[in-house]
Each structure stands twice: as C-alpha cells, then as structure tokens.
C-alpha cells in the first residue's frame, strides 16, 4: 500500500458532461422511455398529468420510506410489504367500526403504528441474522408474512375473532374477509379520500406558492449566513413559476389548468422529506451513515450496529404502514389479499429509476423516481397497444421494467463490490 496512494488535492472537481451523463444514466434512459411512451400512446396530455398528480400523492410516501435503510447500509428494504400489512390491518378495523374522515385516519395510524413497530423490529432482527442477504430475506419475509396475514384474515376472522354477521366486508358464510373491501365510493363515505379531500387546491397555484416560498427561504437563509444568493440557483424555481403561470393563463391549456392537488397528502410527503433530511443531522443519523459505510469501523468506535440497523428498519416499516394508508385512501378499494404484495417491488423500482442505488438515496431520487416510474406505468399499456396491437404487451413490459431495473441495479452493486474487492487485492 505504501507509496502508492498519491496525495489528491480535494479541490472543487470539475465534472465533465460525460461523467454527469454516466452518473445519471438510469434517469436519462427512463426519461427517454417516458417521452417515447408519451408520443406513442397518444393519450391526452391533461389526462396523463392528472393521473400523474394523483399517483404522486398516492405513492411518494411509500417510496420515501425506503431511504433510511439504504443510508444505514441495510439496502433496499423489501420488507416494507410487512409495514403495508400493518397499515391495512388498521384500515380494516377502522372500516369495520365505520369511523370515517380524519378521526378514521388518526385511529388507523394509531392502530397501524405499534403493529408496524413490532413487525419492523422482528424484520430488523431477521436482517441482522442474514447480513449480506437482506434483500432476498426481505422479499421472502414479505411472502412469509403474507401467509400469516391470510391465515388471520381468511380463517381467524369469523372464528376466533368474532365479527358481526352480515358485515359487507365479511364473506357470506361469516368466515374470512372478502377479496375486496370498499373504503367508500366517494369522499365522506368511509375512508375514501379521507386525507386527499380535506383540502384540494389547484396544482399550479400550489406549485407557484411552493416555488415562491422556496425562493424566499433561500434568500433569507443566505442573508442570515451573510452572503448574497446567486440568481442562477433560483432559476429552476422561477421556471416552475413561469410554466405554471402559462398553464393557468393561456386558454389552450384549459384542460390542464383545472387539475387539483390533495394539499394535506402532499404536506405529509413534504413532512417525510423533511424528516429524512433532518434525521441525518442528528446523532442517530450520523450513526446510520457510519454503519452504512462500515459496520466494522462503526462497531469498533462503539456504535451498537445491530441496534441501529433495527431502528432504521422499524422507521422504514412504520412509514410504509402510513404510506399504505395514504395509498389506499386514495384508491378507495382495498384488495384484501393483494394490495400490499406489489408495494415493495414497485416502490423499490421507482426509487432505483430515480437514480438511487443500494447504498445511496435521497429524497429527490425518490420523487423523480415516482414521477418517471408512474409515467412509464401510465403510458405503457396504450403504447403497447399502438406498437404491437396488444395492451397486454405494455403491461408485461411494465413488469419486465420493474424486475429488470431491480435486477440490474442489484447486479451492478454486486459487480462493483466484487471488482472493488479484486482491485484491493491486486493493487498494492
């Protein structure tokens, strides 16, 4: 080792365009795919945007719940499926009791959270026992827990767990829950839109407000620190304002202009973003970072690695349970035995498409990922139909993308780890 490591000046490294392209290759590929899909599918643009806005609200929270375990070195937490089950448990109970609206949501969270804590803790313990294989363990944990979940809701409900006969969610013979449970068909009835419809605001007005607020925040913060804000750093926000204004004011975009956004849901998402940022500035966050980089060194320094990993998994599981509640209140129907199963893979595919990896993730990657992934989702059936005359092909392509992007991303990670190890051996 000696002599060979040259002193490197850690100056502001100039990144050339190639490097930037290489680092964002996944995002670029999917942006191109989306654009092609949009062109091919020929869907009305306002329909796509409307659909996308609702999907962002529906899915972002779940995807954001993946960030902490990635930073803590646990990897992609396929175990969020278990959290989703906890969320559904809460929803089922609250729906059964007929509590609606905000009180319903609060009660659901109250039920789901402790269950998610316990399940997350158990998952974390298991991950500690399967270090290095967390990702396949997480996948299998989901399947395993699904067996138990089905046992509870198909067999114990109506036998050990008494249910009022004749409840719509129970099967006609009084044992087990139906395959689908309606959370209400419109706002005010059941849990449907319980969060989304508390406050609906025009999405463009909301964006303008948010962008202006961000600009103000940046200027004030920089002034406090005593330097002027460079105008260039404000350009993205300004563009957002201008685009929104154009859409609002130009009559051609009338169909686009009246799209509304669920303010409370979006605020919750922003809240989780903030949490993810703030937690990393605490001692706990520093520990996450340390064990994420090197479990060995962290433990020599006296950090309780296993316990910290468990905390990361618990946080992720709890957020996933809340995310599933947000997801289902938007959808309005719960597929009792299926809604949770896809959550893990879809969320993970989304964050990877946003440019995250097994060891690196941030909120922007999560949000960009949600937008790109769901754009592909929206357009691929119609694109498939146009291209091959069969909508099914688009759907299969979609699931190929999900599996493929996860597989490739995990493969790249393993390949990098293997070559790094080899390099270490040959370079001295």
């Amino acid at each position: 080792m000696e002599n060979k490591i040259k002193p490197q000046l850690r100056l502001q490294e100039k990144k050339d365009i190639k490097e930037i392209l290489r680092q964002n290759i996944v995002v670029i590929i999917f942006t191109v795919l989306t654009v092609i899909g949009v062109i091919l599918s020929d869907l009305p643009f306002h329909f796509m945007v409307r659909e996308l806005v609702s999907r962002i609200g529906r899915n972002s929270f779940l995807v954001l719940s993946l960030i902490i375990p990635i930073l803590a070195g646990v990897g992609l937490n396929f175990g969020i499926v278990v959290g989703a089950m906890a969320g559904q448990l809460g929803l089922i109970m609250v729906t059964y009791w007929g509590i609606t609206g905000i009180p319903g949501i609060l009660l659901t969270v109250l039920i789901a959270t402790p269950v998610a804590v316990v399940l997350g803790w158990q998952t974390g313990v298991l991950f500690n026992k399967t270090k290095g294989q967390e990702m396949i363990a997480g996948l299998i944990v989901g399947y395993f827990a699904n067996g138990l979940y089905q046992f509870v809701f198909l067999f114990l409900v109506g036998t050990l767990i008494p249910m009022k006969p004749g409840t719509p969610m129970v099967k006609p013979d009084g044992i087990g829950l139906r395959n689908t449970i309606s959370l209400g068909s419109k706002h005010g009835e059941g849990m449907k839109y319980a969060l989304d419809y508390v406050l609906q605001v025009n999405v463009w007005q909301l964006l303008i407000a948010a962008a202006l607020a961000l600009i103000a925040f940046k200027i004030i913060r920089n002034r406090k620190r005593g330097f002027k804000t460079p105008v260039a750093s404000l350009i993205p926000n300004m563009i957002l304002v201008v685009v929104s204004l154009v859409i609002l004011l130009v009559p051609t975009f009338r169909m686009l202009a009246n799209i509304k956004a669920p303010v409370v849901t979006w605020l919750l998402i922003v809240g989780l973003c903030l949490f993810n940022i703030l937690i990393m500035k605490t001692k706990l966050g520093q520990d996450f970072k340390a064990i994420g980089r090197s479990q060995h060194i962290a433990s020599v320094a006296g950090i309780n690695v296993d316990q910290t990993r468990i905390i990361a998994v618990i946080l992720s599981t709890v957020f996933a349970s809340w995310g599933q509640i947000i997801f289902l209140q938007n959808i309005g129907t719960m597929n009792t035995y299926g809604s949770h199963m896809q959550v893990g893979m879809f969320s993970i595919a989304a964050i990877l498409i946003g440019g995250a990896s097994v060891t690196k993730a941030n909120i922007w990657q999560a949000l960009v990922g949600v937008i790109l992934f769901h754009s592909v989702f929206i357009v691929s059936p119609t694109a498939g139909k146009v291209l091959f005359g069969d909508a099914q092909i688009g759907e299969f392509f979609r699931s190929f993308v999900v599996y493929g992007v996860i597989g490739v991303s995990l493969g790249l990670h393993a390949w990098k780890a293997a070559t790094a190890k080899k390099k270490e051996e040959t370079e001295e």
């Binding site: 000696e2 605490t282 001692k283 706990l284 520093q286 340390a290 060194i297 006296g302 001295e428």
Partner: protein, 531 residues
C-alpha cells in the same frame, strides 16, 4: 517507582490451558516512550488486549494480575473503560471511514451534539450534530500535531501517512488522554512519513503523554525510546533503559534459544548442489504478507527454512510461487522458466503446496478425509479416476484404499476415511494436508506454518515426517514458519525475510543475535550467505 502512570503487575493469561503470558510486568511513566518488543506469539498483543479490556480476553476466562493507573488498581473489562481510563490506541490497520471527513472520523461516535425540541422528548440520540464545534475540536487536534490539512476534507483521498495522523488526532482529541499505544505504526509508512511520526511521538511525550510503542524496527527503538521491555514466549525477558543497551543485545534477547532440539545432520555436501528452483525479483501481492522482490535459490534435496516476523512477507513466497496471489518476477524451475500465476501448471510440474491456512485453504472441513487426501492428485494427475472416454468418474475403491493407507502411514487418528476433516484435531488435520500433498508425489514441497496451533507431541511428529520425506525420498522441502526454533531443528539453511525481502540466509547454528538482527531488517550485506 511511585511516579508510574501505568503499572501492570504479574499479568498471567491462558487460553484453554495454554499459557500465553507468564507473570509479565510493565510500567510506564508519564512523558516517556516505552518500547514493547518481542517476536510473534511472544505475548505483546495479548498484553495489549488485556490493557484494552478486549472481548477476547474476557470471553476466555479473563486474566490474573494487577493493573494500576496512577497507583490505583483498576479493572478494565471493556474498551469503553479503557477509554475512560484515558488510554488510547493507534491501530496498525486504520479505523477510518474513507467517505467521511476528517472531522467526522476524529469524532466518530463521540460527536458533539446539542439539544433540539424533539431530542428533549425522545432522547439523546436525536440531538443535533454540532458540526461547527466538531470542526473546531478537530482543527485543534490537528494543529497540535502540526498537520496542515483541512479538517473538512474526506479521508479517502489522503496519503497513508496523513491517515495515520488522523488516527492520532482522534486519540488526542479524547479529553485527558494519558497513555497512547502505537501498534506497529510505521509498518505501512514510507521512510519520511515514519520519521514524521517518530518526531510527533517525541513531541507528544514531551507534553506528558506516556507512549507505549510496539515495533519490530530496532533502529526506531534506539532512536526514540527511553525504555524497552522485551517479551519472549509470554515471559518478561528484560526491561532496560535504552541507553544501557544495544541493538545487538536487544536482538539476541528477542530471539533467544528456546528449546535445545537435536540438530539435523547435514544432508548433502556443499559442493555439488544443483539449483532446483530459482526465484528472481519475485513480487507477491498477498494482503498482509507482501513480497517485494525476493531473490532466492532452492537447491535440490535440501530443506530450506524461511523465517521472519509476521507481516514481513515470508508467507507470501510460497503463495506466490503457487499462483495463489498475483505475482510478478521470474521463477525458473529445473532449468526452465515456470509460469507465474498458474496454480494448475505449477502443480503439474510436481510442485506441492501445504498452505499456512489449514482450515481456510488446506482442507474442505465438511468433506471426508478420503476426498481431502486425493483431491489434488485427482484434479492434477487424474489419479483415482476411471476414464469412460466421454466422462471421467471417481474411482471410489481406489480412493478409499489410498486414504486408508495414508491414515496408517501417518497415524492419523480418526474413525475412518469417511470422517469429515473438520472433526479432526489440528495435528491430524495437518497430517491430512501433508498426505494430500504427498499423494501428488511431488518433487518439491512448499509447506507453510506446519505446526501452527497444534500441540507439542503432534508438532514433533509432523516435523519428523518432513525430515523423513527429505531423507528417504530426497524430496526438496521449503518450510515457512514463524517458529525459528523449529526451522533451526530441521533446515539446512534458513532465509530470513524482512520487509518483503530476503534479509539474509543463515545456517541453523548461527547466533541468536544474528537472527534477531536479520528479523528486524538489519543486515550489513543482504543476500550474502554465511558459512
């Protein structure tokens, strides 16, 4: 001696009946640099593990004896308590996270934090990191060491020498540090970096910190230390003022003659020796045992011993010849150039190898003695194979009968050829390894650390086997061992490796001091053979 900062008195420790420390004393005064010397296995690391309350000590029954700090007896049962007792350590391998900044590394798990509204309710761990104060602290520690690097730079890009200083900065940033242990700190440094480090050590000592310095470089010992303590075989051999002793004396004390074993009679006459294998400028990239340019001739029919301290590269030679680790240089074998980095080709040329890592490389623990014994010959020479043209099958009968023969020949204590190798004792495992190499019918055998971790009776058996093979079959044997005594018992010549190079070649009856000096890398005329 009442002004002693640290006193360790009559320390004893055994691992499962095997005594590794036999009543060792050590005392350390504030502001002195005290060197701790000894060969591998002399007990240095065990002593340090005791001082730091390492898990490995307390999970194996603790130790006996007394530790006093500032005259008060203390019981250190965990690294945390060692830290509380103001003892710090600079590790040989860096405990630094590359992608963290220098500050983050210095403050790892000792971050400065301040309360925020949430942490008041939910507890300490949610307190905010106070980066400003941390940077200031790190700056102070770095300034103390007169290191001019930015505290917010990432560790990843730093030269090794600077990383070492970050390690030291971390220790002196701990408030009230009184005792600082350096464990072979100069091993990974360049010469100028090492000089820097020694200067820093002197500076720290001048500020009143007691420094315990573990090294094998005797010139460094003479340069910086006030006192030296020498251990050998778990015993305290000497504790002297550095000014009262010399390099030669220290070297002699370190090596010592352990057991008088019968010297093997000279096997071949000196004149008509034929070179069987010639290594030229061999570099082997084996982590932890780097070989940096070895020139060595191996004569037909001899037993060549390779000795030296751990980490100096002696283990790397056999591994390099066999192509186990990336190797450059030149090997000529039997007059021809032998291929590098090609294990199979080497084996085909009747070169056999018994690895130093018996359980990791030498055996498949979960497989039978029989398979372990025949595997290499089966692979390389297609022995024990029934060839059906399209495919080749194991010849189960032949394998079993050969294994039974080997078990008998080597007196391997087992329940039969189908017992798993992992179930055997260390000595018997070693015999299986040797049996595997012999099944290959080699012309030259590289055997590394053949007696490591096996009991004394088995040791003798294994060594006897080697001598027998050499005498009866005329097999050339290259034995690498950390135990100089056993090398001196059976070898014709002994090459001592230091810092990745041959420091010198000695006859088995050369003096202890000569061995000691060579092992510390001090040789007047490297390569010159003593007669």
């Amino acid at each position: 001696m009442d002004n002693c900062l640290l006193q360790m008195k009559n320390i004893e420790k055994d691992y499962g009946g095997h005594k590794v420390l036999k009543g060792v004393d050590l005392s350390l005064k504030a502001g002195e640099i005290h060197c701790l010397l000894g060969e591998n296995g002399a007990g240095k690391s065990t002593l340090m593990n005791i001082l730091f309350g390492m898990e490995v000590i307390h999970s194996t029954g603790g130790y006996s004896g007394e530790i006093l700090i500032d005259g008060k007896p203390v019981k250190i049962t965990s690294p945390k308590e060692a830290m509380k007792a103001n003892i710090g350590m600079v590790h040989q391998e860096f405990m630094l996270i590359p992608s963290f900044t220098i500050t983050e590394n210095i403050k790892l798990n000792r971050e400065v934090t301040k309360h925020n509204p949430v942490s008041k309710v939910l507890g300490e761990r949610l307190k905010t990191i106070d980066t400003k104060t941390m940077n200031a602290d790190a700056r102070r520690a770095l300034d103390k060491l007169e290191i001019n690097i930015e505290e917010y730079a990432e560790v990843a890009g730093l030269p090794v020498g600077h990383m070492q200083f970050v390690e030291i900065a971390r220790e002196i940033d701990k408030t009230g540090l009184e005792i600082l242990v350096f464990d072979e700190p100069t091993a990974v440094l360049t010469e100028s970096e090492a000089d820097n480090l020694l200067a820093t050590m002197k500076k720290l000592a001048a500020e009143g910190i007691a420094i315990l310095f573990i090294t094998h470089r005797l010139d460094e010992v003479m340069e910086v230390s006030d006192e030296v303590t020498i251990l050998r075989d778990g015993e305290l051999v000497a504790c002297k003022k550095t000014s009262d002793t010399s390099v030669e004396e220290i070297a002699e004390l370190m090596v010592g003659r352990k057991v008088e074993l019968n010297q093997k009679e000279k096997s071949s006459s000196e004149g008509d020796r034929k070179v069987l294998m010639d290594l030229k400028n061999l570099h082997v990239n084996m982590p932890g045992e780097l070989v940096k340019g070895i020139d060595l001739s191996i004569y037909e029919g001899e037993i060549l011993g390779i000795g030296g301290l751990a980490g100096q590269g002696k283990i790397g030679i056999a591994n390099g010849v066999m192509g186990m680790y990336p190797t450059t240089g030149e090997i000529s074998y039997n007059g021809e150039t032998a291929p590098l980095n090609d294990t199979l080709e080497m084996l085909k040329k009747d070169v056999a190898f018994v690895s130093e890592d018996r359980r990791g490389v030498g055996l498949i623990l979960d497989e039978s003695i029989a398979l372990n014994t025949v595997f290499t010959a089966l692979k390389v020479k297609e022995k024990f194979i029934r060839n059906f043209k399209l495919f080749k099958m194991q010849d189960g009968k032949a394998i079993t009968s050969h294994a039974e023969k080997m078990i008998k020949d080597f007196d391997i204590r087992c329940t039969g050829p189908f017992q798993n190798a992992g179930r055997l004792s260390g000595g018997n495992q070693q015999k299986v390894c040797i049996a595997r190499a012999l099944t290959q019918e080699p012309r030259i055998l590289f055997i590394s650390e053949p007696t490591r971790g096996i009991d004394i009776g088995a040791k003798k058996l294994v060594l006897d086997v080697l001598v027998r093979l050499n005498k009866e079959l005329g097999m050339t044997i290259v034995i690498t061992s950390s135990e100089l005594a056993e090398l001196r018992t059976i070898s014709d010549r002994i090459a001592i490796v230091a810092e990745g190079k041959v420091a010198g070649i000695l006859p088995p009856d050369a003096s202890d001091a000569k061995y000691g000096l060579l092992m510390s890398g001090i040789s007047d005329d490297p390569g010159k053979e003593e007669k």
